[in-house]
Subunit: 307 residues, 5 copies
């Protein structure tokens, strides 16, 4: 099994031993350790949507310790959260699971068509909290994308110097894109490619639809007959767009939906060559035991135990 991890690490030939170690830590943790697949628990919804919308459906989630324990008990590869949530448990759970410090966040107390999240933590914070990686969101398509790309540039440089891995959430959004365009296959593949070019080790995107947003791209997709009809095909195209599979690409679960759908999506991610899922609300907004069963099913799909 270790061979797959070694193979993945070989793609990161420009990184120092520290960063490779931290990528390996995530790949060798939890139920999927060694498979090259990842299931990560992210909990930044309190900041992004507010505490009640996030935690009222399963009130123990107000407590930051809950999510550490859930990620550990479910055998996730890593747990990702903003500064406050990690500060509240990183000492208590030290060494039990790889941590990802989410370094920028956005709230919905004000509206903005072209969002620019606030930088809310630092690489130094990640180091003092014992994290394996920093996480950063960019919104390609936003008029503020320059600011985000340049913040990420500086953070990634500092993180790599300090032996951390860099996880980039790449979510197209902004006044130049239609709502449907935010998950269009051409746009999602482009967003994944940008994240890879910006130096991300791990890229997180939304699952793409078969919609084609940009006219110039559409012409090429049709002329070169890129297969994008099935979800697995689209996952494969996103993975291909991320340096032909030489970068780890995982997919987000999005809003809470029926388990059946989530499992189907996981199968498509697996079959398309995706590296796994990052699943927040579908995990922590239900009772813990139920959440663990749910996550184990997904992990079994990725491990190939469920076909």
């Amino acid at each position: 099994m270790g061979d797959r991890v070694q193979e993945i690490l070989s793609w990161y030939g420009s990184d120092n031993a520290g960063t490779k170690t931290n990528i390996a830590r995530m790949l060798r943790s939890g139920k999927l350790a060694g498979t090259g697949k990842l299931v990560i628990l992210p909990v930044d919804q309190g900041f992004e949507h507010g505490p009640a919308r996030s935690f009222a459906p399963n009130a123990p989630g107000y407590n930051p310790h809950y999510h550490f324990q859930l990620a550990i008990d479910a055998g996730c590869n890593a747990y990702a959260a903003p500064l406050g949530f990690l500060e509240a448990g990183a000492g208590h759970f030290a060494g039990q699971i790889p941590l990802i410090l989410k370094l920028n966040n956005h709230d919905v107390l004000h509206d903005d068509k072209d969002p620019l999240p606030s930088v809310t933590g630092s690489v130094k914070d990640a180091l003092r909290l014992g994290c394996s990686a920093v996480g950063f969101t960019v919104y390609p398509g936003s008029v503020h994308c320059n600011a985000m790309y340049e913040q990420l540039r500086a953070i990634a440089e500092e993180a790599k110097e300090n032996g951390l891995a860099v996880v980039v959430w790449s979510y197209p959004r902004g006044s130049a894109l239609s709502k449907e365009g935010e998950t269009a296959i051409d746009v999602v593949a482009y967003a994944a490619h940008i994240a890879a070019q910006l130096g991300a080790h791990i890229i997180k995107v939304k699952l793409p639809t078969a919609h084609l947003e940009q006219a110039a791209a559409k012409k090429v997709y049709e002329a070169t007959q890129i297969p994008i009809k099935t979800l697995a095909e689209r996952v494969q195209h996103v993975v291909q767009s991320s340096f032909d599979g030489r970068r780890i690409v995982i997919f987000s679960g999005g809003a809470k939906s029926e388990d059946k759908n989530v499992f189907e999506e996981a199968k498509a991610i697996r079959d398309g060559g995706g590296f796994g899922s990052i699943i927040g609300r579908n995990s922590f907004q239900r009772p813990k035991a139920e959440a663990i069963t749910f996550l184990h099913t997904i992990m079994d799909i990725y491990a190939g135990k469920i076909r």
Copy 2:
């Protein structure tokens, strides 16, 4: 009694001994020492509203020494003020009461719907003045919230490195919120949560009303039947939203009002699990002896001597 302080300190497991020491200093000072409850005297109204509006009702308040002495004589846990006011007395009263240097301030000589306070002091100032903590105001909902969050991020990082505590005033305000929405329960709980995620050790918010401002939140509050009818329930929800009670949350007294009301509010804060009050104008805008009696009553409420 010390056990409660130890318990509270255990929530701050990512902080260094210096910061824990300074949190403990505030929790072990004054009449409420060791109870885990806090009553803090803040005097930044001279900057925020002008000297006459602040001090003419009780003219000795023009003198910065007055407030140090009032906080000491009343047995407050800490005294919070801007740079000039602290510089004018920190040497004279050295070691007599924990100090909080308010690092940003705003005046009303010009209007702005979406306020952005000026940064008026530094962590180095707090250190040279012997402070236990820095204080910082954020206005979630302001179009300038990014600037404030990022200023706070840098200040909090430097403060924590230097063993200081971080107190965040989190006051929703801005063009996206209705006037009523600024104290709506969903908004205040969200603002407290944001402060916690930004790494605050102590959070100060306004007492919330039962109003629900944001449609997406309202739906959840109603669906999950979060109890918000009484003030105590609302305090409890705010405390829950601040990492399930694992962060110190205190409430502001607001403009001068009838004592009876303030006492009722203190009881609700206590009964809802709040950690205390920060009381400015209701304290220093009346004769000193009267102010001390008033503050002692509130402290007795928190200590449980008055039910």
Copy 3:
């Protein structure tokens, strides 16, 4: 006489010995040495209004040495000017009079309702030129007040670290104030208070009128019957608003006017507890001998030799 200087220095208990030494240097220089009163010569009008408007009325004033010599010969406590003017004489007149380097300046070759001066010198410049203090102008009420307050914050921190004193010109101005409001008593007192809160050692404001600008303030002035009818009363209120007299507040002479008026104003400043004057155009825009007689009369008023 030295006792009064010691008393004044005691108000600056948070400052290091270097800063106290430099405050003392100004208080112990010139004809008013030791009285606790100050008359300062400022010459930044060349930058602010242009050379001809400033110096044509008394052409020797084009020469930067002229003003050093005038300030020395008249027995002023200090001489304040921008970088160029000080560079042009600081070596030649080294040690003959305390110098204040004016660190920001504004010209009138372009209009702006909400002015933001340029920072034109540094604390390092002040140190290399042997200055006792830095001077900085803020315009409370300007939409740019944040920028000015934050520039001042950084400059004051650096100045204090390096043992310099900080002199703040606090001139309300900006689109939110009426022309009359710029010298309204409520506004001037507020501006003086803001300068004190920002950490100024010496505050310079304009002489206030009895006008009340802001509605919320007006209500309090009337309700608490703050005496503001005579100029001496208004000076007293400004001094009170500056930490109850625990900060040095001096008043500007403004445009050239009849000597009789200036002397009456000086008496009012003295009787209201003000600490002195800063007198530019009324001094250097007349022949030197005449200017010295004029300044000596004002000093005699402050010294109490003229009642």
Copy 4:
């Protein structure tokens, strides 16, 4: 042959040995080694236009290793790409070909008439990846040109201190220029000159047309009868405008076009005294063997083997 390289290096008399070494490395690599001519492979189209538009026509191009190998096998002088693409292969292909790290990039998920690319890498990145040069794009004519020039200034200073060469892509664009004006001879010559004045060692511009955009320039071109009728004449004028030929100027191939045209252009570049080509899409969007033949033809044109 080495003499030509020595001659070129003599133009860079203000550069340190490190920078000269890196310029020499590019001039002494590949099939054109020692001729003083350059053919560079740039692959930033994935970022600039999206992955499918760039790589779908020749799918192996999704893999970052493909381009390293293509540049090596074709005998290019250097390979230029953004951070991610270089990180993905710099270790694997270490020392096989000089690398140019493209330090700013722009995507088309949002529109902007006056583009400002994001800075996406650093001089330190270039050093840790073993690059010989940094690349930077400026858009003279953009309202953001100040930002780009000043970013370049800082990057060039740091690059030169660290012994790297500086390659500047100078592409006129912005609301003040007509579409036709972007490649007008007066504008392209001006853009090349600006790059030279900004300290570029190697300048890349588009092939100019005979159009004259700016009225004041047109007058001079006509009065002094600058020959601009043939492409070779225009190339010569651009080279002359780049310090009379004392800076290396290369020309971009632009969008994919017929080979015949590209060869004609290469001949004109050669005959006009240009230093070579930078050819992206015309190379990597066709099968590798075909691309190598194509590039070899161009190199033979520059080497004078094909007239």
Copy 5:
């Protein structure tokens, strides 16, 4: 002759030996060495107006070496140019003539009524290129004047620390000034004064007309009867406005014009007490031999050999 240089140096009493040495280097170079007069060759027009408009009239000027040699052969006191032009010859001509690195530049590929040049070089560049001074342009009257003044402040501080001289081009321009006002005597005198206050050692302005632009200034010019009728009188007023002649003020030649006019202007500059000329296009846009004769005539005027 050396006495005049010593006298001039005595005006710069706040500068270190390094800066004085570099001022002296310029005053002791070329045909006017020791006279206290200066003729400087500036060549930044390639950047400011484009290469063809600048160099097509005399094509050898495309070559950066040409201007070094011209300045040396003509016996100029110094040669001033942007980064690229100096880098291209500073090594080759090392020590043959004092150099001034022009640190900001502006091009005309885009329009702006209120120009803000780009900073295109650094003090460190000037040091590594062996320069005697840095040059910087400010546009008083521009809405961007704050930015320029503050850039200059930082550059001048660093230059002086490192023993360089500071040359300021002060050109009034911007939406608040009429076209005629840009060279009005009140405005030019004001601009020279601002440059002096900002710490310039050498000030360059345009020759002023008798126009009076600003109403408030006009009143004073008329009331105090400042003589401004002849060009010599106006030069004298500008010199007086520059610290009563205690700063070196030189005048620009402007666009190419008839030699006779230029010589008359030089006489007026001399007779008004000006310190010399900075002559670009009138020098390098004609054949070299002719240019040398032309410059020698001007130098002879300044040396008093031609009356």
